[in-house]
Symmetry: C2
Subunit: 394 residues, 2 copies
């Protein structure tokens, strides 16, 4: 059958097959952005699910409202308010089926063919693909370890003007680089952007996985004009299997998302929303997140110390202060996709950094995830990579 034009831009299925291969059970996988299953509070989830079915079975198994389960939206608003001294109400929150759905909805809401989306360089490929499906063009704003560089942003804004419809940024422990914007850069960014009629998508998927205290005001808390759409998720701080996430924004912006939601899946899973709500009533989510952070921090330390021991000295990386990735640079001229082929033969996988750029040519980087493998595999996998790198970089 004749497909739509947007299908011409769709990611090759071969790449998806490669991702599946990378997650084969016998693989030491540093590739996915997956949380560690050992953090899932299975007994507590069972208790919460039992309570939901016993007390509210009929409602939990019916359709949810378009905006999502009100008590859960209230809890999400309350957590945001507490963290960022804001005054959001539940009307500023819509539940989405995973944060990816929130990103897709942003594409749907703002992007016409040929519109420009600004993003960090590099950026999360899953978001870029979602926007690409609506015909977006991309401009990567030069970014350093402190965040998007304000002077570069200004240059791009004045050059491309009205064609820019959206900026997509991940200020906290970014995917793939694990960079965290400084408070100063956040303020500078918002201060520049407030003069433009451009939606700002703030992806906060990793925001709560922080290994140290830092001043990190969310962009939405710095927003005076209802410009920021903040996408958060229970996937990394709880479990991804429920597909429950959220968007926070101004009430009038949330009204727009409510127009889209019936078209794309009617509503998110009612039982899953209610289960998380009951879990948050009965148990302490923040305490649970504390345990996740403790585990990931120790895995980060193990990954970094093993890299230090096994990687050649011309392979460089920053030590991440949060999130679940290390971003690794090989010397210029080496191609991480070639290294991946060698690694797969040794049953080790990672994602070549080139996948996270909107233009080709930057191929000497690696995204290494350390949250999802046990300690033994982290050491073994990095030792194998170290051995391969010593040969590969000769």
């Amino acid at each position: 059958m004749r497909l739509s034009k947007r299908m011409e831009k769709m990611q090759d299925r071969e790449l998806l097959r490669l991702m599946e291969l990378a997650e084969a059970p016998d693989m030491i996988s540093f590739s996915g952005g997956f949380p560690s299953p050992q953090t899932y509070p299975i007994a507590e989830i069972k208790e919460a699910l039992t309570e939901v079915l016993d007390l509210h079975g009929y409602e939990a198994l019916s359709y949810s409202s378009t905006s999502g389960y009100l008590p859960l939206r209230e809890k999400i608003a309350k957590r945001m308010n507490k963290k960022y001294s804001m005054q959001l109400s539940a009307e500023s929150v819509i539940i989405t089926s995973g944060s990816q759905q929130g990103l897709d909805m942003c594409g749907m809401l703002f992007i016409d063919k040929g519109d420009i989306v600004l993003c960090e360089t590099p950026s999360y490929v899953g978001a870029l693909n979602a926007f690409k499906a609506y015909g977006a063009d991309f401009i990567e704003v030069p970014t350093d370890n402190e965040g998007i560089i304000p002077s570069e942003l200004e240059k791009i804004l004045s050059e491309y003007g009205e064609r820019i419809k959206m900026a997509y940024v991940i200020p906290d422990f970014q995917n793939p680089t694990c960079r965290c914007w400084t408070a100063e850069r956040r303020r500078a960014f918002m201060n520049i952007m407030k003069d433009y009629d451009i939606a700002i998508i703030e992806d906060s998927a990793y925001e709560e996985i922080a290994y140290e205290e830092m001043d990190r005001p969310s962009l939405i808390s710095l927003d005076d004009k209802g410009q920021v759409i903040n996408c958060g998720s229970f996937s990394k701080i709880f479990c991804p299997g429920f597909r429950v996430a959220w968007i926070c924004s101004s009430e009038s912006m949330i009204e727009k998302f409510l127009l889209l939601k019936p078209n794309i899946d009617l509503s998110s899973s009612s039982i899953n929303q209610r289960m998380i709500d009951v879990y948050m009533d009965k148990f302490d989510l923040d305490e649970h997140i504390g345990k996740i952070i403790e585990l990931y921090k120790s895995r980060r330390d193990l990954a970094v110390s093993t890299m230090k021991r096994c990687f050649p000295p011309n392979v460089t990386y920053e030590i991440p202060k949060g999130g679940i990735f290390v971003w690794i640079s090989l010397p210029q001229g080496y191609n991480a996709r070639e290294l991946l082929q060698l690694a797969l033969q040794k049953k080790v996988s990672f994602v070549p950094g080139g996948s996270f750029y909107t233009t080709s040519g930057k191929e000497n980087e690696i995204r290494l995830n350390y949250s999802n493998m046990c300690e033994e595999k982290i050491v073994k996998g990095i030792e194998i990579l170290g051995g391969l790198l010593r040969d590969f970089l000769k």
Copy 2:
């Protein structure tokens, strides 16, 4: 912020507010297309969920694969094969987050701005809205109680030619009319369509809710060229709260849907898919559907006998042979939207038929759902409607 052009065509939020009002707890609602919560097998679901969490908790709480949980896809293929003597494999099935997501994906896959979608007249407004978001134009093919009229279809196909990209049809107990296509019409439809390069979306949401034996070959079972995309769902035969549905098509077509799924929500809920799979292993889904049919058939009988007793004789309807709606016609010139305003004051709701047409002007019909209200409310609500109608049609 500046929105995308597609937002100009989005349904008014006022209409959604009206739908919410129609579902208020004190309302006798004949409006939603909702299954009856009393059919939900809560105890069995609890048992299945407990087993999933006890035996496969880690996997159930992680991301699912893009295509969905393999054993569940195998079961769906097997049921299709048994019903329609087909030989589908699990590779012909992708799990979607509700059937609505499947419809949205069809829009994404096929529709460019200005492409024409053929549909029955009237048709399911939720599907039409999803396609409209991709810029679809619509042509309603004249339809009678046996289905789409072949000669009318041929006329439209020859007139509009290549602009037609998709046909969206609901051959079984259609939403909103509850019409069921005859086997002859199904064959005639496929026989005509096979000469055109047009995707056929077969919406089977109500297909299993049949009150009597009829020869109803699915369009996908009559398809020799991989033209049909069959959308099915657990929402009406089990529970909608899990948001688990599916698309069946040729393996090469499913490959295309697999390109879209990562962009829109990464994957459907893993625990929900596994729960339904375990439920189907431990319990008899067909027996469960049998009980649903029995309940809805008795509610249909009650609704129809009450309508017969209370409605003026110039209000007409067909007795539905399946599904969950009765389609009611007022005499020409009367507007069901006006009747709805009166009914809402008496705390009774339904959907005015005009909502299901792509062009305006056809306003004298009513979609009445009878699956979701208890027997007492069915009688009371129809008595109230009858009283209103006697005044309204004076």
